[in-house]
Amino acid sequence: MSAIRSRLMMSALLAGGIALIPATACDRLPGRPKAAQSAQEGSPEWTVEVFNTSCRGCHAQGAVGAAVPLMDSAYWRAASDEQVTRGVLEGQGMLMPAFGLSGGGPFTPAQASALTRGMRALWGGGAQKSPEISGTLVAGNASNGKSVFDVACAGCHGVGGSAGSVTDPMYLRLISDQGLWTAVVAGRKALGSPAWNEPMPGRPNGLTTVEVADVVAYLSSQRPRSMSELKP
């Protein structure tokens, strides 16, 4: 009987001892969840973390992405901070979702602009926004734009061109005017698409700012106004 009792005592002591572990060493136990410590907002680490989880899927690791590559200094020369921040908060066109709180996303306006500044610091290559051309869409003349397009763009984007159509109504449905503006101004070097001030057929010195506005107005005018024009 006393053997039983001492055995019981032993196991009770053991159990009690083990149960004390959490009480004494609670903070150092491996099971304790790590506090979600995120990097200082606006710091380079924070910027990279946000970019990698929320933006990289479309905006590329490097210079070739499905959407405009944000690690590309050409983009940062073309885009203004206000424009980028607005895009982050409100979304743009059909395929860029809004990431602002008011649009159902995670970012406050302050965070969005911290992100913009952080990305420019990391990937802008020290470049400020080029003062020569606006970062935001400027209204232009579509019929002048057509003549510019026929000379400067059609070689690549016309029928049989190597770069594929940019007047395809399906394509134009998906991209906003601001998206077209950025595409023409910044180009996509890695995909072989020239920036606005780089040589193009018939425009050895690139386009003028007025021509950029006109050609974007032309492209925009080709966009179908309603879905019914769009039957595949």
Binding site: S11, G31, C55, C58, A66, G164, S165, P232
Partner: protein, 503 residues
Amino acid sequence: MKPPRVVGMAIDWVEARTGAVAFLAPLLTHHVPRNAKWWYVFGSATLMFFTIQLVTGVCLATLYAPSAAEAWESLRYIDEEVPFGWMLRALHGWSSNAMVVMMAIHMLQVFLHASYKFPRELNWVTGVFLLFTVLALAFTGQVMRWDQDAYWGLGIGASIADRIPVIGNQVRGLLLGGPIIGGETLSRFFALHVFVLPGAALGLIGLHLALIMKNGISEMPKVGATVEPATYRAEYEQRMEKDGVPFYPDAAQRDMVFCGACLVLLVVLAAVYGPFGPGGQPDPTLIDTNPRPDYPFLWIFGAVSLLPPASETAVMLVAPLVGVLALVAVPFFANAGERAPSRRPGMVLIASLAVMAVAALTWEGKTSPWSPVMNAWSALPTPEHFLAGRTPLEVQGANVFQFAQCRNCHSLDGLGGERGPALDAIATRMTPDQLMRQIQQGDGNMPAFGRNLDSAQMTALVSFLSTLRPEFEAPAVIPGAQLPLPVQRMPGEVVTPVAVGSQ
């Protein structure tokens, strides 16, 4: 060591007014079979884990905010700011799994020893109901985490309810508190998890224990010692009288040692592995996907993932029903005769097959690339060689591919979800028409995107997918065009463009 006199006086005082000792003493000293040894500890361990669930559960209920807006945050608060909060959650989570496991072992032992035979049929039946109550507690508990797993787990639960003929919609509404998963849903599951189900479990446990007291604990099965309902009870009582030992301390000490060991293991597991989840915040804007459920349900999901989709409705609805009925029917189907496993090879075979099936299916549920990768759409870039040389429309299609979260289930270049097949070379397998149909209508475990994509998105997506083949070549560069940089077309292959000066 003799207890001080005052203790004895206090006990006498209470005894005189309640009769508690007179009531409890026979419970503690009733005779149990001498030869049972360590076989009968599993039921007690299950009860211990249930007690731990009650205690930790009550503590957690004081800290948890059962509203859709605050639940997730309140778990973070418990984990990070409440002293020992995370330990409380870890104990509650691990003890829940341990209880399910212990219960399964207990049932298996009872089944193998045929302890469910006369007069203990109802012990078994209450046990089966307890099993399902505990599983329901585990399921509703997972919902309390209110993270993505919980959210999508509910989605699946709702879609199962939806499949019930005729009243499917009503059942779904009753479960979710509305047509969709929302704040109502959490309140409803909270009420189930902390009031209804624990109440039911307590009642069933009381009944189960009362039946055990009434019918006594079965002896170890012996070849030739058959159960004859007409004479069994009298003979059993006689044998206990002659050869039994008092429950306390002879059998109880084994229970205590085993429970102590279980407790130690539980604390170690909780301390080392910590609490479960919460995973990411639930996000209703994500397209329908499938979750990975908690352990006790992994095998069910493993089974569903192996099923041909056409049979899912039948199996998901009918199988659980058949399971419950079969379990309840066991003691009625064979309530007399031999108890020894060696004389019941068929039953032993059934039990081993069941154990192997559950183990294999759990493994399948655990390892099958079951869950989508929730943030693949926003985190994993499209590999360059799937973009180079594509038309603007096709490149926008790559954006649609991310935007519609195809990437969460389908990988490119080995990166992305593995819920569906990799699409690296999909254009070699499917024509644009087939692609369009697949995306619009879905198929098996792939959701239908017909209503979520407009025709421009669909066209772009299909034209992008149609370029996903190994031999894809960009269209030839025509003269008159000047490319500023070499264009990369295929991995490793750099084609220097034909640079022709503008005429």
